[in-house]
Each structure stands twice: as structure tokens, then as C-alpha cells.
Point group: C2
Chain length 250, copies 2
Amino acid sequence: MGLEMGILVRNAVEPEGGCLRAEPVSHCATCHTRFLAVCSAFEDHELSDFNRIVQHRCHAAKAALFEQGQNADFVFSVSEGVVRLFRLLSDGRRQIIGFALPGDFLGVSLPLTHDYCAEAVGAIRVCRIPRNAFVALVDEKPHLLRKLHEFACRDMRTAREQMVLLGRKTAEERVAAFLLTMRERWARVAHCSVTVPLPMSRVDIADYLGLTIETVSRTISKLARDKAIVVVPDGVRLLDIPRLQAAGAR
Amino acid sequence: MGLEMGILVRNAVEPEGGCLRAEPVSHCATCHTRFLAVCSAFEDHELSDFNRIVQHRCHAAKAALFEQGQNADFVFSVSEGVVRLFRLLSDGRRQIIGFALPGDFLGVSLPLTHDYCAEAVGAIRVCRIPRNAFVALVDEKPHLLRKLHEFACRDMRTAREQMVLLGRKTAEERVAAFLLTMRERWARVAHCSVTVPLPMSRVDIADYLGLTIETVSRTISKLARDKAIVVVPDGVRLLDIPRLQAAGAR
DNA sequence: CGTTTCGTTGATATTAATCAACGAGCGTGG
DNA sequence: CCACGCTCGTTGATTAATATCAACGAAACG
């Protein structure tokens, strides 16, 4: 943590608890993820109840939102940027269990302690919500629980796909499937495009796909050599989507 | 399906839709999983509402409860036996995404179509519930939704563990972790014991752990040679749990 | 402008997959 | 009852995929 704090301070001014001063969203009503995130459970007139308990915050790259085993005092909704979620084995091996994009929620299970770590990939904006206040709101508003369950079920579907990928797909299939999935997920957030942002490092991608950096790098190079993709700064442009779908093994 | 029907018929009489005549539980109140399964959401006096819509059924080994892509007309609660849940790739590769034990629920997301297959491993008893009636009941009873969400979150935690296993663990670690997890899960159902029932075949275990049968077989043999386990009919007895925990890589 | 990090590529090692053979158990049918 | 075919699990030999080790260039950063 000390190390990361240092990076934070180097990148931007940090008034308290890792939150940067770059001004966050002032009110949920103006948030990009208003109709995408859990807050889509609320009617406009209910939003102020929610807004009262959320804290709009910014974090620099590599900031930890929470760590494996830590008390879950807060839950989070990502409003901008990407968060990596991962578990660590005792010998340092890491498995990234997901990337949270804008609109995604961290803490659907309202856990007492977090069972994975969450770190900002690049700079991010999040809504931080005290767990207790949120639990109280969930108790009060049935549609919120329903929305939460919906989110949990979507996460579950994604997790199942990932199990198939990790258990039974080859390196090329994993990378191709990853690119197509990220494309779909970004399409939900922003307008659809063939250029897929990949703000995370090769190490992150490797730890997500159960591969090594070298294998990820080689596979991406191969797809580029085959003219299925073009590597661009912080992302790839998908040239031959049918080719990728064939490679992705459905 | 034709093949499996044949097996069903050979094993037991089958009056309709793959349900065997061996008499199922007559009422939820007498069910082994009364306080373990979703029905634990109900007080005793509410149970008859639930009992009215459930169908207690038996299935022979290899019977399919539902298939990937099929309309989800029913959801299920397992009351006896083990169900394998899996996805198939177009070329036949299979990934088992979970084993459902007594008390487990299939269809927490109340999906319109199933996105995986469910098959009885051995003979099973299940509560089959028409999806529509169940959805109506969930709308009516807030604690049921809460219970469902709790189940979804538990599944999610299991899925995350499995992603770590599939992405980052060695063959021996996978097998050791699998045995320890199965032990814990059986302990929830029946009394705790060092003998872990493994009613599923080696192929099933392999497809769950992202390995081949040969590797599973060799690894089990190695653990047995090391006196960490003893192989018994349809299961293993865990002799050296610390050794297994060390091998299981936390 | 040096230092560090990150991504790429090449050479080699290692793990687990594949290919192959065999024996035990089981149900079927002669 | 025994012989036959079949499935299942085990073990051995070999191969293939990916990990590991190593070197290097480019970009980022202080």
C-alpha cells in the first residue's frame, strides 16, 4: 500500500483515503452510467435518496479499492475507467477474475469481507457507498434487490463463460474470445466500434486468460500477422470479426 | 436423448418425461433439504404455498434435466444425488461448470433459456418447479428473492474459486483442491466425514478441472501412493488433510 | 538523460495432452 | 453358467502446447 500511495501522490494530489481532487460527478442525475448501473433501479424522484449515501470519487491508476480479506465497509459502482478484480495465491500467483467497466457494481453480494482485490487499471471514477447504508436501502427498496440480483446473474453468466475459456480453450481461442467479449462489453457502455480499448497491461490480460505475458503477446502478434486485428495504442482494432469468432470457439 | 431414454428404461420404469416411479418425497415438510434448499426461505405455514407448485420427481443416472439453449420452463432444487452442469463447445469439448449437490438450486437467475446443460450423475430426486409459478411466488415473497440472491452469491464465490483453479493451479493442486472442496460441500449436506463420495466419473472430474482423464487418474494415483488419500469405491478417503491443503494452493 | 517498465521475440524446458495398451467390472445373451 | 462386448480406470511412451529463461528495443518517467 505504501508503494501505491507513492504512485498516487506522484500522479495527482490526494486529499484523503486515495481519492483524487479532480472533481467527480456532482450528482447521480448527471452521471454517464445513470441508466446502466445499479442506480437504473431508481425512478428520477428516488435518486436523491440514493445520491445522499453515495460518495463520488476519483482514483489514480493502481489505486486499490479494497483487498482480499478486508472488511467490506463500502461497495462500489464504477462510473468511469476499468477496475481489475483478482485473487492472489499465497505464492504470488494471481488470477484476474474480471474487469469491471463503467456501470459495473462491486459488492453485489453485500459481503461482510471482500474475497478478492479490486484495483484501478487506469484513472477511474467510482461511486463509493457505505455498505450499511446500502444494505438499509436494499431492505427498503425491493427493485434495488431485484436489480442487484440481475447484476449477480449477469456476473454469473460471465463467470461460466470464463470457466469454459480457462478450462477448455487454447491460447488463440482465449485471446480471440477475450477481444470479442471486450468489444461487446464496451459497446454496452459507449457507442459500438471495431476498436476495442485495452487499458490493462499484458500481464493483466495474461492473468485473466490463465496464460503468460509471452503467450498473450505472441498470440496477439499472430492475429495481427494474420490481419485479423491491428494493434493500436491501448487497444486493438478488429479487422476480421468472423475470423476471430471462428478462432474464439463457441 | 434416445440413447439416454434407453438407459432410463433399462434401469427403471418411466411413466412420463423421464421421471421414475420410485416414489419421490410426498411433501416438502418431510424433505431432507427442508432447511438447506431455497425452501428454507419459508416458514412452516408458508410451505404449503410452495408445495402446491413443486413437483417431486426422480431421475435415473444420465437423465437430462435441461439442455443448453432450451427454453427454461422449469427450475429445480436438488433433493438427493448429484447433478452435473456443463457447457459444450461446438466441436464437442465439454467444461463442467459445477456439480449440484442436495440443497442446490438450478435456475437462480430465473432465465428464459438455459445457458448450460444439467444431467443426473447417478439416480437423483429433484423438486421441479414451473418457472412461471416460481417467478410469481418470488414476486410475492421478498424473502424468497433474498434467499435466491444468497444462493446466487454463493454460486458466484464458488465460480471465482474455480476460475483461480482453472487459470493458475497445477494438476495436483486442482485435484487436491477439488477433493477438499467436495468434502466441505458434502459436510453441509450430511454429517462430516473424511470419506468423500465421488459419484461422478473420471471424465466428469477431468472436465470440471480442465484436465484429461489420464492426468486426473495419474494425480489421484500419486496422492494415493503418497498416502494422502485412499481410493474407495465411488469416492476417496482423505488420510492426510494438511498434506492435501498444502497441495491445494490457497 | 539515465532508469525503469513494458512489450516483443527467440531458445529451451516442462507440464499435461495425446496415443496406445491392458485389466477389471458389468450387463447381455448364448 | 460362461463367453462376449462394452465401459471405465489405470499406466506407459511420446508429442505438443505453453511456460520459462533470456535478450532487446521502445516508451514513460523522474
